[in-house]
Amino acid sequence: MSLKLGVPSKGRLMEKTFNWFEKRGVSLSRTGSDREYAGRVDGVEGVELVLLSAGEIPRELAAGRIHLGVTGTDLVHEKLPRWEQQVEQVEAMGFGQADLILAVPQCWIDVDTLDDLDAVAAAFRIRHGHRLRIATKYHRLVREFLTDGGVADYQLVDSQGATEGTVKNETAEMVADITSTGETLRANHLKILSDGPVLKSQATLWRSRVAAMSSEDKETLKQLLALLRGDS
């Protein structure tokens, strides 16, 4: 048995994760060809690196197939109901900051708050015969946020990419998406509602509450966490 650490397999998130561990004396690296998802861990014994898509890491943690995992708060909250019972936050890693926000066309000068949005949704439904469409991939988080805010007469339409473009293409009236600088939103003539964000997210190291551990694994975890928290 070994302690399994799940890390995003691609892009800047992977690089920044590797750097974050490196700074704390744990060296993560990919092995083999660039296309092969294999890796190694130096600096602590008994840890196995598992390279995964960031979106799959919450599920793997909840299933107990990995013991530790790096992924955004947004994905954990969206994909795991009652996430507190399934995973524990070990460390917020200080990068990958992004907010899940609601954005409407800039030309909607009459809309700034959830209150406005609700009123507009009611009028829109009467005029157009269908509910106001919000393009997003964060269905659960957005629905809970809008329910709590008392917004009705909206409809979530699934968008797994290029979400900001849906308004121009008229497949949605507005979007709920992750943004860090808001640049893409502005480029697509969208503005952020002042009630929000729905969620503030950053890259975070999580521990599975359900993964089985041998006594060796427990010892490894203790050592690793001491290193990562700089207690040693």
Binding site: C107, D110, T113, A122
Partner: protein, 362 residues
């Protein structure tokens, strides 16, 4: 925990009770077109119902309740008056509490009758009280129609009243709207800026999306009109708040509401209906003197009810949902009736919970 066959046996017995009262047995399909339910409840229903899909019929939902399909069936080809009964499983998706059942049996009774709504309310309540008489349950009752009448009678614009009516079932937003219309909260700065600017769209931002410039202008015009309106009068507001707080036994509740009606005369008609129902309940042997009544009862959980509402609760088990619940849903028949409508009232029972309570009580 009671087993499935015990639950089915009990369900059959309860349904026979409703058949004896005149209910015709109906058996709507398990799969319901998702569009109808989404149209009624909005996106929230997705958190509560299981959705499945096929290429021909699109999204289908495992029935989260019987009322909607029974109303649809009646509106399509029912003769009047009609009484229906049913028993079967309903499915509720659970995202928060894994201990809550996601599948359970409901036994129900629904009355579609134009003649005498007070008598129909009493008939349904008394039947449910009879079915649960051996359990020590507390009955709660309410009447959403009284609050609706109060809102309709407010001395303010039709637009404000429509907004309040739309959020009767969302107390938090209802409250926020009231505070705004009563000028109890200050106008947010962006709204103030918007209203103080003359003219409409500045033309500086690109127009995108299906919501047109005309719609935006129209709303700004409406906001300007609203900003020029006087606040809802303090006297009316206090009366409305007093009304929402009424929680008493039926005779005292009536007395309090008659006092409130001096400032909110629009509720008088609804109070007459309340009195007629109390008399009809008494005639059916219900102890009205000690029956609890609460004006705000059912505002958070019973969204299609728009008149009399009731629930039977096990006081020793506050963790359990109501053992029986129901109410009047005239507006639902209008929404599903494509032009037709009929006064309707009904309710459902949970045989599984009844058996569970009997086990612990014995």
């Amino acid at each position: 925990m009671p087993n499935r066959s015990d639950i089915q046996t009990r369900a059959a017995r309860l349904r026979m009770g409703f058949e004896a009262a005149g209910g015709r047995v109906v058996d709507p399909p398990l799969l319901q077109p998702a569009g109808t339910l989404l149209g009624l409840y909005g996106e929230d229903i997705r958190a509560r119902a299981y959705v499945t899909i096929d290429a021909l019929r699109g999204e289908q939902m495992l029935r989260p309740d019987f009322t909607v399909p029974v109303v649809q069936m009646h509106m399509r080809d029912g003769a009047e008056p009609a009484r229906y009964t049913y028993s079967g499983e309903v499915f509720r998706r659970q995202e928060i509490d894994a201990d809550r059942a996601n599948e359970y049996v409901q036994v129900g009774y629904e009355v579609f009758d134009r003649d005498n709504p007070a008598a129909a309310d009493a008939e349904v309540f008394a039947l449910f009280a009879l079915q649960v008489r051996d359990l020590k349950l507390r009955a709660a009752t309410g009447d959403i129609g009284i609050l609706m009448a109060a809102v309709q009678g407010l001395n303010t614009s039709a637009r404000r009243k429509a907004a309040l009516m739309r959020h009767i079932w969302r107390p938090k937003r209802f409250r926020a709207l009231l505070d705004r219309y009563a000028h109890r909260v200050s106008v947010p700065a962006p709204r103030e800026a918007l209203l103080s600017t003359d003219g409409v769209l500045t033309g500086s931002s690109v127009e995108i999306g299906k919501r047109s410039r005309a719609e935006i202008d129209e709303r700004i015009e409406a906001l300007r009109e609203d900003a020029a309106l006087p606040p809802i009068a303090e006297k009316e507001l206090l009366a409305l708040e007093a009304l929402m707080a009424v929680r008493e036994t039926v005779p005292y509740a009536l007395e309090q509401m008659r006092d409130i009606a001096v400032d909110l005369p629009s509720i008088s008609q609804a109070l007459n209906s309340f009195e007629a129902r109390a008399a009809a309940l008494a005639a059916r042997g219900v102890d009205v003197e000690s029956l609890d009544f609460e004006v705000s009862y059912g505002r958070t959980s019973m969204e299609y009810y728009d008149g009399f509402v009731f629930g039977f609760y096990a006081e020793t088990r506050p963790d359990l949902p109501p053992i029986a619940s129901g109410g009047r849903y005239d507006a639902l028949t209008r929404q599903l009736g494509q032009g037709a409508e009929i006064p309707a009232v009904g309710g459902v029972l949970r045989p599984d919970l009844m058996l569970m309570l009997e086990e612990t009580q014995s």
